[in-house]
Symmetry: C2
Subunit: 398 residues, 2 copies
């Protein structure tokens, strides 16, 4: 009996765990013995539309899997394409037919879950047998119906580790000085909240309107306690009109006289300098938050793999239009199970930090939030180093 084939793609922004999920899918498919060829789609649906794919059996050996798991960013490449339906659907379903695809695994965020839901509905209309399974990933942790998303724990571990190290760097001089660290997450403060795992003097989330008066009072109060003040701020903080701090309404000119949109961290640096006249610096953790695999969370990588394997099981059970999701079953010790949820319900929704986890002043999160985040950063992967650098698995460009 000819066994059906499967195809897997990665989508959206990279994380330190998205390849762990790819490794989980590859391992799950191989161990099941229930599939023929497992294809990898280069650059997600974008690559599928131009028939750019590879046979993963030939590209990733069993011994490559451990390295793939610990390599950051999307090994297959990624895309940000939202399907427009019509002719694009025709091309995709033609490709599924041509390759004899029975299962399509799509690792991504809420846009990708929209793709999964749409394609699953389209398959039903077309009486296509293809099953569509979403697998969550995002450092932003903003998907609903899953306790958290793979990729978040590693990013949170990088953020907390780095803040703890910067705290030591702040403490060396006696002169009053403020350090503002800008953290990713335009619409949700989950990553910024990871700062609460270490001892920052305040953290400011996009979930609350940013009040310059409160912020300034906080900084002054902290400076009265000790000279080395450390502040964590989300890139997504907005004023009461909804304008990003550092962007609209805070425009400067760049070196060519163009409008230069500085980030929230830089804006607060200049604001503190202006208002308090103390030494101040800002640090953007930037893209390192999503690719610092050298300080990945083992819990996160394990769960990244586990959702990949769960997606394979879901396909074998005949499910479609679902997303593998994590259910937390215990905090101390931390335990979790994997299930599947309706991808359509996840699509285009965003999960923010619950109100009751943010303090009244809006400059911190409470112990319940810390209890939620802490187990997700636990554990250090056994990385393989070569000449002092972590080894990576690189899939040749498609």
């Amino acid at each position: 009996m000819k066994r059906e084939n499967a195809i897997v793609g990665q989508s959206g922004g990279p994380t330190a765990a998205i390849n762990a999920t790819l490794a989980g899918i590859i391992a799950g498919v191989r161990e099941s013995g229930a599939f023929g060829t497992l294809y990898g789609a280069y650059n997600g649906v974008e690559g599928m539309l131009s028939e750019r794919f590879c046979d993963l059996n030939g590209k990733v050996s069993q011994s490559d899997l451990a390295l793939l798991r610990n390599t950051p960013a999307a090994a297959l490449g990624s895309c940000r394409l939202k399907l427009a339906g019509g002719e694009q659907y025709d091309r995709l379903f033609a490709l599924f037919d041509k390759l004899d695809i029975g299962s399509f695994f799509y690792i991504g965020g809420n846009d990708s879950m929209d793709t999964v839901a749409q394609l699953s509905a389209e398959a039903e209309k077309r009486h296509s047998p293809v099953r569509f399974i979403g697998v969550p990933k995002t450092i932003d942790n903003d998907l609903i119906l899953t306790d958290h998303t793979p990729g978040y724990g590693s990013a949170a571990k990088f953020v907390a580790t780095t803040l703890r190290e910067i705290r030591r760097d702040c403490a060396v001089y006696t002169k009053p000085a403020v350090t503002v660290v800008e953290i990713m997450g335009r619409d949700s403060g989950w990553l910024t909240a990871a700062a609460a795992l270490t001892d920052v003097d305040g953290l400011y989330l996009p979930e609350r309107v940013f009040d310059t008066g409160v912020f300034l009072a906080d900084v002054k109060q902290a400076l009265a306690r000790h000279p080395d003040v450390l502040i964590a701020v989300s890139e997504g903080i907005r004023d009461k009109e909804g304008s990003y701090i550092g962007a609209a309404g805070h425009k400067g000119l760049d070196i060519f006289g163009h409008v230069n949109l500085s980030g929230a961290g830089k804006a607060l640096e200049l604001f503190v300098k202006e208002q308090l006249g103390v030494k101040v610096r800002s640090v953007e953790l930037s893209v390192l938050q999503r690719c610092a695999a050298h300080i990945a969370s083992e819990t996160d990588l394990n769960e990244g793999e586990a959702v990949g394997r769960a997606a394979v099981r879901a396909a074998l059970e005949g499910k479609s239009g679902v997303m593998a999701a994590i259910i937390r079953t215990g905090d101390a010790p931390y335990t979790a199970e994997i299930t599947t949820v309706d991808a359509a319900k996840v699509a285009n929704q965003a999960k923010v930090i619950p109100d009751e986890w943010i303090n009244e002043r809006g400059n911190g999160v409470n112990e319940a939030c810390v209890r939620y985040i802490r187990p997700l950063i636990v554990g250090e992967p056994a990385l393989e180093y070569e000449d002092g650098l972590p080894k990576q698995f690189v899939l040749p460009r498609g």
Copy 2:
């Protein structure tokens, strides 16, 4: 017989290895059995002038030493004070008398070696028995008469590891995009040269005049090869008039209408956008370069400890006005020995990358340079983690 006491201070910018050196001095002093009390000076000579110090025996237990070794930044605090002589010398030597100090260990860069040389000369004038021993540290690697400086290897490992991870992040999309990573080192390109341990498309050093024409041609050529271009640039690059790129002559206004000195990375980001119209981003590795102890080099920490112990031996041998220095005795396998050199010769000098290690076009370094850097980043310290975060040793504020 009453044994003489010793005092140790840390100075200049923090590194990931400066506490390894402190741990080496504490261990060396204890193991020698030749000293009475080992005092720690808070904030280097600045704290000594206001008599802020502690008894390190009471503050750092034997079991704390391993944790101290792996904690970034200066546990005793640091300063940037250059002594002015006269009354300051009087106060310092009065303190030495009061505390019965026979040996003063000063961990720092070339300014600190100046302090060591000056105080040693002053001691001779005053017929003071105090011996002054310098111990090198700086992420910049710009001290002469030592093969390299503790602190550099860990910073270089962070830079190379991070660039390798950013390279993966760059590779996920198909659209042409340029990423410019700005690296510390105002006057020497040693840290930027560590980018050569990974596969960047070009690196630009302060040792060479920055030519925008060459840079632009390099970026264009790289974009013709692949869509994901990764550039490393020193914060210290200057034009042929000697003005920093991004600073003088490249002024913009900040959000309050003030002059905003953007860094080299940001300046090149805007330049590439202006000239080529491609997607471009810049990343500043910033203060993480000097405090990312979680990715420290074990070779570096070992050598940091070893120069600390060597300083203690030098004091016991009656030396003064010297700096512990590293002599490389082999490249493959890497071997090194510790010696002492004249601190006065190190003071106020700076070591830059030799001309013959930089390629003709000024956008890269050769294999000899890579061979020099590579062994310094090798090895991973066995870090102790608690709840997913590296444990630190924190000395209570003095």
